[in-house]
């Protein structure tokens, strides 16, 4: 199993490099402009808080924009949308391709012709995806911590680590949904990317705008983004709903993908 994980990571080393570079660049760009934004924070806050609520909520998830506070800045500029978007795209890309690409290229047969069970192969593929996500997230977290110190964003390292960890887990949950659908059956495989994208980005729109209309308030509660509130995590509070969502998704992903993949035809 270890050799499949290392093989998969080696196969994707260029992919890993470019994702890490992109995330470091985005974090660096957003944090390095903090000192100049901070010096004009009062005017910017006024302007941003005068924006239509719909636009503001897309950036903050319903929280007031307060660029003078480190938490407000990190939440609105990095952790609520920008970083999770990048990591979600990466996670869905991985989740929908880890098995499906090998299946399409018929290289899955090379592996399944060896003495390895489908369950172990599935676990190896999932672990290789998790490893890739972990590497990129750790690089992103270290970059954030170093640059936050550098630009004097006064926030405890442990809270930045917690926000980075939950952003990674939240992003991985959508990758897990894509992976599960691609593993479970041949018909769900085709829908894996679409469903994961709809749940993540569609959910983001609905959850962010749910305060605008009571018609979408209730359905938004069914969507994962409703429970993702990095502004709270950055002050040490993690919503129970987020933990429940993450644990439920992890459990369901393991169960459904295993049950489906071990008893389906390989095309």
């Amino acid at each position: 199993m270890i050799s499949i994980i290392t093989w998969e990571i080696k196969q994707r080393k260029n992919y890993l490099f470019w994702w890490a570079l992109s995330i470091v660049s985005i974090i660096a760009t957003l944090l390095l402009v903090y000192p100049s934004i901070h010096s004009q924070a009062d005017q910017l806050n006024k302007v941003l808080n005068q924006l239509p609520a719909a636009l503001r909520d897309l950036k903050t998830g319903g929280n007031q924009v307060d660029i003078t506070s480190p938490v407000g800045y990190l939440n609105s500029q990095l952790f609520y949308a920008t970083l999770p978007f990048m990591q979600i795209i990466m996670a869905i890309g991985l989740g929908s391709s880890l098995l499906a690409r090998d299946e399409q290229n018929h290289t899955l047969e090379l592996l399944l012709a060896r003495p390895i069970s489908r369950g172990k192969l599935l676990a190896a593929k999932a672990l290789s995806g998790l490893s890739l996500m972990l590497i990129v997230s750790v690089i992103g977290a270290i970059t954030t911590i170093i640059l936050a110190k550098l630009v004097n964003l006064q926030i405890a390292t442990v809270y930045i680590l917690a926000a980075s960890l939950y952003t990674m887990l939240f992003s991985i949950s959508f990758g897990a949904i894509a992976f599960t659908l691609s593993a479970a059956s041949n018909s769900t495989r085709r829908a894996s990317m679409g469903v994961a994208v709809a749940l993540s980005f569609g959910g983001y729109l609905l959850a962010s705008l749910s305060g605008m209309s009571h018609y979408i308030e209730t359905p938004a509660k069914l969507l994962p983004y409703h429970y993702f509130n990095p502004a709270q995590i950055l002050v040490g509070h993690v919503a129970v709903g987020l933990n429940v969502y993450l644990l439920t998704t992890a459990f369901a992903a393991v169960l459904i993908s295993w049950l489906g993949f071990r008893r389906r035809d390989i095309n």
Partner: protein, 297 residues
């Protein structure tokens, strides 16, 4: 002696198809036997192979390999099996050496791997994506044989190989046979099957319609008539003539016919028709195949 491969009523329906892709296949392949699995495209050869490898799950029936169930004991089976896919698919970016090293880490290969690499003159240091189809096929052969498996399942194994490499392949298969390995080999190359197989099975529309050994007591090598009729209507009539067995039609005026009973009786039957040209030839596997498929290949 227990057969290395046994299928019993093995059947596969795809999705909601009402017609079986493989219908009640029952066959046995003994240790040290090379079994040629012949059939047209879509006849069910690859479905059979994919069922044996547990890539597909049977709709009904069962298969056992080395006494182990192909579904329940698939991991134990894979320790003893070598598989070469029809259109061999390998990772394209890494080199052949990297892929073989990776596959060896999943299924331990011994010094035989180096022998095979030399025998097939495999280019190990180029990315596989830059290799020709034939060179990729050679890598496919090495990965299938390198752990000296007790059972080999080979789907169109010589596709893309030049004649020299085909010879090397036959030598390798015969070595495996001498070791006692059972070989199931699907092929379109009937001359190849006739040359190295101990027994063949012909599959049509998912059903095994004919099996025969390739030893001297079979009909291969017997006389067959290639007849050109002056009148195409005679060709139709001769299909039901006594003393003759229609094998196949080669064009609008010509057919291959096999004598039933004595040659004299067959010639007497043919004398009723206006024949422009007639040749005799030995019945080979291609004619046998055409006889079962009833049309030119």
């Amino acid at each position: 002696m227990t057969a290395s491969i046994i299928t019993d009523g093995l059947t596969k329906y795809y999705g909601n198809d009402k017609v079986a892709a493989l219908d009640q296949l029952s066959l046995q392949i003994q240790p040290g036997e090379i079994y040629g699995f012949l059939g047209a495209n879509g006849a069910g050869k690859s479905t059979t192979i994919r069922l044996l490898l547990n890539f597909l799950l049977p709709s009904s029936g069962s298969a056992t390999i080395m006494g182990l169930d192909s579904v329940k004991d698939t991991v134990a089976i894979k320790k003893q099996i070598g598989y070469l896919a029809g259109d061999v698919s390998l990772y394209l970016k890494p080199t052949g050496r990297q892929v073989l090293d990776f596959l060896s880490s999943l299924q331990k290969a011994d010094a035989y791997r180096q022998d095979l690499e030399k025998r097939f003159k495999v280019d190990l240091d180029k990315p596989i994506g830059e290799l020709s189809k034939g060179n990729r096929q050679k890598l496919g052969i090495v990965q299938a044989f390198m752990h000296q498996p007790a059972v080999l399942v080979l789907d169109e194994p010589t596709a893309g190989l030049d004649p020299l490499m085909q010879e090397a392949f036959y030598e390798t298969v015969l070595e495996s046979k001498q070791r006692g390995a059972a070989v199931l080999m699907s092929s379109h190359n009937l001359a190849e099957a006739q040359r190295i197989c101990d027994r063949i099975g012909i599959i049509k529309h998912g059903k095994l319609i004919h099996e025969q050994t390739m030893s001297q007591d079979n009909t291969l090598g017997t006389v067959i008539f290639k007849v050109m009729f002056a009148n195409p209507a005679d060709l139709v009539k001769c299909k039901t003539a006594s003393g003759l067995k229609f094998v196949s039609q080669t064009d609008s005026h010509s057919a291959l016919l096999k004598p039933v009973g004595t040659i004299a009786a067959a010639l007497k039957a043919l004398s009723q028709y206006d024949i422009q040209e007639m040749n005799t030839q030995s019945l080979d596997l291609e004619d046998e195949f055409l006889e079962f498929y009833g049309e030119p290949a």
